[in-house]
């Protein structure tokens, strides 16, 4: 039986901003088709890891590869493989929903862009608001549109930075089901989040970063949600490593 290809492979990944070390020799391998949830306090290095994987950051030490291709800042081919959802929605607020998708579809030279845009509007339940200006949308709708924007070019790896922040229960569930479909269709997801329940809806692995290092990395099949939540809260509020917290 052949092994699944590796979507993201980081070995000894270190990133420094001046005297601050955001990532310390991180080793992380994400197989294709996996959904990995990154947890950690603010400033633990989650966003930096996503930025390196998304080739948004120029220099780093160690190695980072996406589908066997070394991550290089500004690599055009690399960017075709990856979709990114940041904390900001990265949408043009004065453009309509459909025009935002048209813009990014054309920018990525998506074949038959108009058909792809229509497909995404239907898939993300945005058809009724297609002509609405993004500024008028709710946070949940904006986040759905942001996800549609990120997958407009059919990326193989999706990087999400705290996608559930500011969403109500209904919008969070809707986002979860969209991510589930993305993974079911063969996509790979790496997301940073604090929302244990939502992340465990889809995540096949849970990883905790503390001060730039991975202190916990386990399959979600091996641990139930309440136990992990309890351990993670300990990390957040007391700074105790998961091992000490009883996971």
């Amino acid at each position: 039986m052949s092994e699944a290809p590796v979507a993201l492979a980081c070995r000894g990944l270190t990133k420094r901003y001046g005297r601050v070390t955001a990532l310390r020799s991180v080793d992380l391998e994400v197989p294709a088709g996996a959904c990995v949830a990154l947890f950690g306090r603010n400033g633990a290095g989650k966003t930096t890891l996503l930025h390196v994987a998304g080739s948004l950051i120029g220099s780093y030490e160690g190695s980072a590869e996406i589908f066997g291709r070394r991550v290089k800042h500004g690599d055009v081919e690399h960017r075709r493989l990856v979709g990114v959802v940041l904390h900001d929605t990265c949408l043009y607020l004065d453009l309509s929903v459909i025009d935002n998708l048209r813009f990014f579809a054309r920018l990525y030279r998506v074949p038959d862009a108009e058909a792809r845009v229509r497909e995404l509007l239907a898939q993300f339940d945005l058809e009724a608001r297609a002509l609405s200006v993004v500024r008028e949308l709710s946070r949940g709708m904006k986040q759905r549109l942001s996800l549609a924007r990120a997958v407009v070019h059919r990326p193989r790896l999706l990087l999400l930075d705290e996608p559930y922040t500011g969403l109500d229960e209904l919008s969070s569930r809707s986002l979860s089901s969209l991510l589930e479909k993305f993974v079911r269709d063969g996509g790979t997801v790496l997301m940073s989040t604090h929302d244990v329940e939502r992340a465990f809806d889809n995540a096949t692995r849970a990883v905790i970063l503390e001060q730039g290092s991975i202190t916990f990395d386990r399959s979600t099949a091996e641990i139930d949600t309440p136990t992990f939540r309890h351990a993670y809260w300990n990390v957040l509020f007391t700074g105790h490593a998961p091992a000490r917290a009883g996971v």
Partner: protein, 222 residues
């Protein structure tokens, strides 16, 4: 590069058609400046008519700054510009698209303001020099947008972008503004020749468009 430029131009035109922010603000500001000049300086004198082109371009320089400020402000809003950074596109294409959009906005502003300028300053274009006025507007707006688009991107990454943009780019545009004043004066019949100034505008435009295309990548990155 041309594909990216076309897509970015389409996007900026769609936003402007919806909001009319850039052209609207530039038009109102130009009009206000001309009204102030008109009443403060008694513009209906022969001497003032000779200086009219200067007043036009002063009004344009300040109102154009408003339009250029808007150019990258909308990229910062909600982080939309970051989506451009992680898309597989070349920065030169993004620059070209934004630049062309800005040239169009500035030209439209000039065309809208022109009738008010003619009325306020009781001036007119010499019959066989309309071509000079058109060329002056096109070359002047092109130079202004070439530098303004680059500096707008630089200033947008700073905390005080509204203040920083005019401080950064107005000094650089001084040669283009002087040349534009001279060529417009020629079109209005205030001077007899402007061939040197036309040549200067062409050189200025070519140099700054080329330089901006080459270095825009660094301006786009945060």
């Amino acid at each position: 590069m041309l594909h990216t430029a076309g897509v970015v131009l389409w996007k900026d035109l769609r936003i402007e058609m919806r909001t009319r922010d850039a052209i609207g603000a530039a038009f109102v500001f130009s009009l206000l400046v001309m009204v102030i000049f008109n009443f403060a300086l008694d513009a209906n004198t022969p001497e003032m008519r000779r200086l009219a082109a200067g007043f036009f371009w002063v009004a344009f320089a300040f109102s154009g700054t408003l339009a250029l400020n808007r150019s990258f402000a909308l990229e910062k809003e909600s982080g939309a510009g970051r989506a451009l950074v992680f898309a597989p596109v070349d920065a030169a294409g993004v620059y070209l698209g934004k630049f062309l959009a800005n040239v169009l906005f500035l030209l439209v502003t000039q065309i809208i303001v022109l009738p008010a300028f003619i009325v306020f300053f009781d001036t007119g274009v010499v019959a066989d020099r309309w071509w000079a006025l058109v060329l002056s507007f096109v070359l002047g707006a092109t130079g202004f947008a070439a530098v303004g688009t680059l500096f707008s991107a630089v200033a947008s990454n700073t905390r005080m972008r509204e203040l920083l943009l005019p401080l950064l780019f107005l000094p650089v545009t001084v040669p283009a503004l002087i040349a534009a004043v001279e060529t417009t004066s020629f079109a209005l019949g205030a001077t007899d020749s402007a061939s040197f100034w036309f040549r200067l505008l062409v050189v200025y435009d070519v140099v700054f468009i080329t330089v901006s295309l080459l270095i825009f990548e660094y301006a786009l990155e945060e």
